[in-house]
């Protein structure tokens, strides 16, 4: 139901936008169904740098994940993967790429993530049973373990969900959709040297690339990282459809030089990613509450690590609805004192969920379904 009305809303906006811009003398490009834009018969879309970074995080996560099975991680390899130095990846294309994750990560969080990587390597060296204050392995279900730090943070999740926020979302929010990158002063007539796109077009495409969906918007196609989670909430929130329309409409508006429409779509993108992060945070809080009720520590660490990462991602929005104080309370009290998951209790999980619902009232009616 929500899904439908979101689509209706979007269609309505799209139709209004079309009216606003109708004073343009040239026939406007209409909004396509897939993320395909061309100039002179050739594609004008390129976000290969973003795809490379998505690939890097995927490989990094997979490598850290081997520690769950008892493999010792190399600290140097982990830091190299973060900075793309010394050919750390199995893919030669990635090793030779000029792209890296570290220099696109929210600057004041770089040390935070490096420390997690260093801690992961140390913990993997002699992983015994995890206890409060002691990193180690803990059973998640009957047939596998996860490696967690001294606070119960699962390394793979903190890195994956953490960098989804600090790198990918940060780049969308604080770089590519800012005035510096898509504002009216950015070049949108002359093509970039040896390229088939303008600077403004390219910046929009780079924001799109960090979303991680396939250009055909096939829910069953490859949807990674935020793409995976937006489609994960699609049935309840319609979030993937809203973002799809916003990205397509905004990119079309850039071609048509319809800048009011572009700005409206950028605003939708800002709001939607925040809503998706909050909704996914609630999803994992729900899972954590179930785990707590089942006395299932291993799954609780897993789900709390994911939830913590998604809630933490909210901080990167420059226009976020949640206050710093609310964020701090959730991360450093509700998720245990200073985020020590061993101190988590049921009231804290419920309080975190209530706070998110109060800040994002659109989620109130669906909070238990998330």
């Amino acid at each position: 139901m929500t899904n439908k009305l979101f689509i209706i809303s979007i269609l309505f906006i799209v139709s209004l936008s079309a009216c606003n811009d109708s004073d343009n003398p040239k026939p406007d490009l209409s909004v396509p169904d897939t993320y395909t834009f061309t100039r002179d018969g050739e594609s004008s879309v390129d976000f290969s740098g973003q795809t490379a970074r998505l690939d890097m995080l995927a490989e990094m996560k997979a490598y850290i994940g081997t520690a769950n099975g008892g493999t010792t991680l190399s600290q140097q390899t982990l830091l190299d993967m973060f900075a793309n130095e010394n050919s750390p990846f199995s893919s030669e294309d990635l090793n030779s790429s000029t792209k890296q994750l570290e220099n696109k990560t929210f600057l004041s969080d770089v040390e935070f993530f490096k420390n997690i990587l260093i801690s992961a390597a140390t913990a993997s060296e002699s992983a015994g049973d995890a206890t409060q204050g002691q990193a180690g392995l803990i059973a998640r279900g009957p047939d596998r373990n996860i490696l967690v730090d001294e606070k119960g943070w699962e390394y793979t999740q903190l890195i994956e969900k953490g960098l989804m926020g600090a790198t990918f979302l940060n780049q969308i929010y604080n770089s590519y959709l800012t005035d510096a990158k898509i504002g009216n002063d950015v070049e949108n007539t002359e093509l970039e040297e040896d390229k088939n796109y303008t600077a403004m077009e390219h910046h929009w495409d780079e924001a799109f690339g960090y979303w991680g969906v396939n250009v055909d918007f096939d829910p069953e196609g490859e949807n990674r990282f935020w793409g995976n989670y937006t489609y994960g909430r699609e049935s309840v929130l319609g979030s993937a459809t809203i973002l799809k329309n916003a990205f397509l409409t905004g990119r079309t508006a850039i071609v048509n030089k319809a800048y009011d429409t572009r700005d409206e779509q950028a605003e939708i993108i800002y709001e939607q990613f925040e809503l998706i992060a909050a909704a996914t945070g609630i999803h994992y809080l729900n899972e954590s509450i179930v785990d707590f009720n089942n006395g299932d520590q291993g799954n609780l660490f897993h789900h709390a690590s994911e939830g913590y990462g998604f809630v933490r991602a909210l901080k990167y929005s420059p226009v976020k609805s949640i206050s710093d104080e609310q964020l701090n309370t959730i991360l450093n009290e509700n998720f245990g004192t200073d985020g020590d998951f061993w101190d988590i209790n049921l009231e804290g999980l419920q309080a975190a969920k209530s706070t998110l619902i109060s800040v994002y009232p659109d989620l109130a009616d669906v909070a238990d379904e998330l």
């Binding site: 009305l5 309505f12 936008s17 009720n293 520590q297 419920q350």
Partner: protein, 363 residues
């Protein structure tokens, strides 16, 4: 523009909320009498009994702390067993108030962590609400302190020092409080969830409906706690082939199978609705059939017979049964697994409930 989006959104809400206003009857079965019967005649009395038994348990543990004698210990042990039997009739209802209060986490997480308990007692200060103490409280913790390890011949009374007695009473008190909270939330004159449970707004088969919640909760409990916790893990089927007798529900008291029988009887009572409308009537009302086109209600009822027969082949204590007649214990698991499939696949899909809980989701 953003405003118009909101406007459309709000407008949309109105339109769609009108759509959903009507009474939902699924497959022409009137859920009202079913939910009234289950709520008033099955669930509420079960929670009332649990609250009463847990209170008696707390009183008995208090008396034990006051004067630790053979008689007061025996009484506390008896009250513990009665409380655990009462819990068997509530385990299927871990949704709504029970989930809010964390009832299962407070009462019946096992196996417990003996080291954590000893550490807490030695430290003398502990916050039993936290994740780190999830396996250091509940019934099994009480049993551990009141019976001791069955492998060791210890005069348990002599071990009951004041710090241990204090821990016992703290744990018992939490059990008492949690179950009282849940009973209060369900009863009329309290939170009256029993009325909410059968209200028109709760009809239907969505995840938010009462049937949606109950079917999910009972499936999760039956699969996770009854099948795996009570049998599958101790006997090794759900623990990678390694038997873990110490993971039995009443390892310290030695009456795990007795608890299992009570639990199955509770499930049977829930299914049949006791003297009133139950799931069997629901399934008959909608003409539900198995994939082999058999009458589903009858098939489930017969499967309860098979399961009870299998359980009758084994006797407490469960660790001894696992050692002496493992295949008979495994047979109990097999019969439970058939019932899981009937509940989770046939019954849920016939009614139209989506099973939303996950056991160890992918990633």
């Amino acid at each position: 523009m953003w405003k118009s989006f909101l406007l459309v959104f709000i407008l949309g809400l109105f339109i769609f909320s009108c759509d959903d206003g009507g009474l939902q009857k699924v497959n022409d079965f009137d859920q009202g009498p079913l939910l009234k019967n289950l709520g008033n005649q099955i669930i509420l009395p079960a929670y009332q009994s649990l609250a009463e038994q847990n209170h008696l348990l707390t009183v008995a543990v208090g008396a034990l702390r006051e004067a630790p004698t053979a008689a007061s210990l025996a009484d506390a042990q008896l009250q513990l067993k009665l409380a655990r039997l009462a819990w068997q009739n509530c385990s299927a209802f871990q949704f709504g108030p029970a989930e809010d209060a964390g009832l299962l986490a407070e009462l019946n997480i096992y196996p417990i962590d003996k080291n954590q308990i000893e550490q807490n007692i030695a430290d003398g200060s502990y916050d039993l609400s936290t994740l780190s103490n999830l396996d250091a409280k509940g019934y099994q913790t009480l049993a551990f302190l009141m019976y001791g390890d069955p492998e060791q011949d210890v005069d348990i009374l002599s071990t009951l020092t004041e710090p241990r007695l204090e821990y016992l009473e703290t744990v018992a008190h939490r059990i008492d409080q949690a179950s009282q909270t849940v009973y209060d939330a369900w009863k009329e004159g309290g939170g009256d969830y029993v009325s909410t449970f059968s209200s028109e707004a709760s009809l239907g088969v969505d995840l938010g409906s009462s049937i949606g919640k109950l079917v999910n909760a009972l499936n999760q409990d039956f699969e996770r706690n009854t099948r795996d916790g009570k049998v599958g893990i101790p006997v090794g089927i759900r623990s990678l082939g390694e038997t873990i007798p110490t993971a039995s529900e009443a390892y310290f008291g030695g009456y795990s199978i007795e608890l299992l029988k009570e639990n199955i009887a509770g499930y049977r009572n829930l299914f049949s609705g006791g003297q009133g409308v139950g799931f069997d009537d629901y399934l008959e009302g909608i003409g539900a059939a198995t994939t082999g086109n058999e009458d589903l209600a009858l098939t489930i009822s017969n499967q309860f017979d098979q399961l009870e027969l299998a359980i009758d082949q084994i006797a407490d204590p469960l660790p001894m049964a696992i050692a002496d007649q493992k295949s008979d214990v495994e047979q109990v698991f097999v019969q439970m697994q058939i019932l899981v499939s009937l509940f989770k696949v046939d019954m849920a899909s016939s009614i139209g409930v989506i099973i939303s809980y996950q056991d160890n989701d992918g990633d």
